[in-house]
């Protein structure tokens, strides 16, 4: 199934080797052969100049996709407050809806959270679908899945965007499975294919080493999650008006199999990396936990917060909630100062869209300099205190 290499046409030129995201092509006896890692994705097809690679395109059983219309954003709220990611998704959803010429709806679930409806409209929604029920006051997988699936089946949106929070990532896959449709996780870019009017979902794959554009051609709705901080909110328009549609959902206590006994906020103030405008981050080059004290000073002078690479977290120098990167937070501050961070791909994946990146590193070959707008090659233990002094001086001037 999937991919075939035509031996008589293959000349063993190795061009296809690089095109494979899974390292599944090998050269044996001067010909390309597929190994067990081949997933049949077909990425290699166009790399062959000799038409030696054939990809079977099996037509899927067509489902009736007509009648699916509109873009939905899951408006996650906790304790009566909207999550920032919901507003970011409205900004992105607005673009997609305009491109398709359809409406953008915010899907709000909760109990006595009416005041959030207008906020959602100010941030770009044409309409708020508001399901109010006492059993939706707190998030539960069972309650929220049931409510969302019922509404989707009734109203048939073509696209649903969900924030990849700990709740969104619990809910999204469950909904997609019940609706028997695809879900693309952690998209960093969403576009509309103008010809086919379908959603192009681009996400990092293989630890951020390659990007893959994913489509959901034969199933609806097309579902995607996006990490907090990746998309941009619109500037709220207080004059914007829209419709609020209150909808009924059928829920009883018996539907909720998991019981919420308590929600505990961590006593320590969580570091808000995602909303920070300035982040001063440290890595292995700091040499120890003391290094972070120096960075805190710089961050304090700049009015920013302290971030970290995975290496520093794994070394136990700072807690995980400071971690930026593929397994930490995705951030896009105005200024990102990376001190003693070499720039492993897993770190770059979480910060390379920052508006201005400043890197301080001893090693001029460090990959962090490839994404930095400004780089200083030198010992951070000297440079960082100089930065602190310089900012103090600038403040004094003003």
């Amino acid at each position: 199934m999937g991919v075939r290499i035509l031996k008589e046409k293959c000349i063993g030129c190795k061009l296809c080797l690089k095109s494979c995201p899974f390292n599944a092509i090998e050269i044996k006896e001067g010909k390309a052969v597929l190994n067990d890692s081949c997933t049949g994705c077909g990425a290699c097809e166009t790399s062959c100049k000799f038409k030696a690679i054939e990809v079977d395109k099996i037509e899927k059983k067509a489902r009736d996709l007509s009648g699916y219309k509109g873009v939905w954003v899951f408006a996650e709220q906790r304790n009566g407050k909207l999550m920032s990611t919901a507003l970011e998704l409205l900004g992105e959803g607005r673009k997609l809806a305009d491109r398709l010429g359809v409406e953008l709806s915010a899907l709000l679930l909760g109990y006595q959270v009416d005041s959030l409806c207008n906020e959602l409209i100010h941030y770009g929604a044409d309409q708020v679908v508001y399901a109010e029920h006492p059993q939706l006051k707190l998030y539960t997988t069972d309650g929220y899945t049931k409510a969302v699936v019922e509404l989707v089946n009734e109203k048939k949106p073509e696209i649903i965007l969900i924030g990849a929070t700990n709740i969104g990532r619990d809910l999204g896959p469950r909904i997609a499975a019940r609706l028997d449709t695809g879900l693309t996780a952690d998209c960093t870019k969403l576009e509309i294919d103008d010809e086919q009017k379908i959603l192009l979902q681009t996400r990092p794959a293989f630890g951020g080493n390659i990007m893959a554009t994913i489509i959901t051609p034969k199933h609806r709705p097309q579902m995607a999650t996006v990490r907090p901080g990746v998309m941009k909110k619109l500037v709220p328009d207080m004059w914007r008006s829209g419709r609020i549609e209150k909808v009924e959902v059928n829920l009883s206590e018996a539907d909720l199999r998991v019981r919420v006994m308590e929600i505990v906020k961590s006593a320590k103030q969580a570091v808000n990396l995602v909303d920070a405008e300035i982040i001063v981050s440290g890595g292995r080059g700091l040499g120890g936990p003391e290094g972070f004290e120096m960075l805190s000073q710089l961050a304090a002078e700049l009015g920013g917060v302290v971030g970290s690479s995975r290496a520093a977290v794994d070394s136990g120098w700072i807690s995980h909630d400071h971690q930026v990167g593929q397994t930490g937070k995705t951030v896009r501050p105005k200024i990102y100062i990376a001190c003693g961070i070499s720039g492993a791909i897993q770190h770059l994946a979480g910060m390379q869209t920052s508006e201005c990146i400043i890197a301080v590193n001893k090693n001029p070959e460090a990959p962090i300099f490839d994404v930095a707008d400004y780089g200083i090659v030198g010992d951070l233990h000297k440079v960082v205190p100089m930065m602190v002094e310089e900012i103090k001086a600038l403040k004094a001037e003003e």
């Binding site: 997988t141 700990n166 554009t213 998991v258 919420v260 200083i376 100089m386």
Partner: protein
């Protein structure tokens, strides 16, 4: 108590290096490991086995034949039984199709009280397969588990949130996904490794054994398709400021000021 643990063999993406000239990844010599969160899931199952009588742990993986190594490691750590679900027909599956395959296998394997998965795999980072298996088996789920207790037929768990946790309870059977904070996984001992290779077996299941509809597995059964893959374009090198002196720092800040960045 019967516990199924779903694991995945993944390339150790932390070990991936980029070719400085072409910007593409060098995959040669990247070691395969048991996915981190899955190891936490297995460890928690093993701790339950240490604590209670009559706990039987079955590890399950879907993957190519070489995933046998990951299962042997799980056996060496203390799992009782290992099942490799392997068939070319499963290749290229997205999370929906993968969960169909795992669900079919789990149904064949019989009774369970807990299904344990890792939250997400480091090569895909989707965190979708666990919840999708739960949905297809019509089980309640608790994801992001960072603390676990058993009381009779109930599971009490702490589910991590960004700024704290939820204390949840659920009746078994249920599906749980583990995160790093749950525990510190053990290493297999020499005796365990010896037994895993000499005395224990890895059971094989193919598409035929699962009686599964070919339209819902593998690449062709997947609702999502890869349209194209590409290496992200490098941002373009910025400005490297010379020297590590006060002047350099001054220069930097005046540039930032000129551009209204600060």
């Amino acid at each position: 108590m019967k516990i199924f643990v779903c694991i995945k063999q993944v390339p150790d993406t932390n070990e991936v290096k980029l070719d400085p000239k072409t910007g593409t990844l060098i995959r040669d010599g990247v070691p395969s490991i048991i996915n981190h969160d899955d190891r936490n899931a297995l460890e928690e199952a093993l701790r339950l086995k240490d604590r209670y009588k009559d706990v039987e742990i079955t590890v399950i993986t879907m993957g190519p034949p070489q995933a046998d190594v990951a299962l042997r490691e799980a056996l060496a750590m203390g799992a009782d039984r290992a099942v490799l679900i392997s068939d070319r027909a499963f290749a290229g599956a997205d999370t929906w199709a993968t969960s169909n395959t795992l669900t079919a296998a789990i149904r064949k394997l019989g009774h369970y009280d807990i299904i344990f998965c890792g939250r997400q795999a480091i090569d895909g980072d989707t965190a979708q397969v666990g919840p999708q298996v739960a949905e297809k088996l019509d089980l309640p789920q608790i994801t992001y588990v960072k603390h676990l207790e058993i009381q009779e037929d109930m599971v009490l768990a702490h589910r991590a949130l960004e700024d704290g946790y939820e204390a949840l309870s659920v009746k078994m059977p249920c599906l749980l996904t583990a995160i790093k904070e749950l525990n510190v996984p053990r290493y297999p001992g020499v005796k365990g490794v010896f037994e895993a290779y000499r005395e224990k077996t890895v059971e094989l299941m193919s598409a035929k054994d699962l009686d599964i509809d070919p339209d819902i597995i593998g690449l062709n059964g997947s609702p999502t398709n890869v349209k194209r893959t590409f290496t992200p374009a490098p941002k373009g090198k910025g400005m490297l400021l010379d020297g590590c002196s006060k002047e350099t720092v001054k220069d930097l800040f005046s540039r930032l000021k000129d551009k209204n960045i600060i």
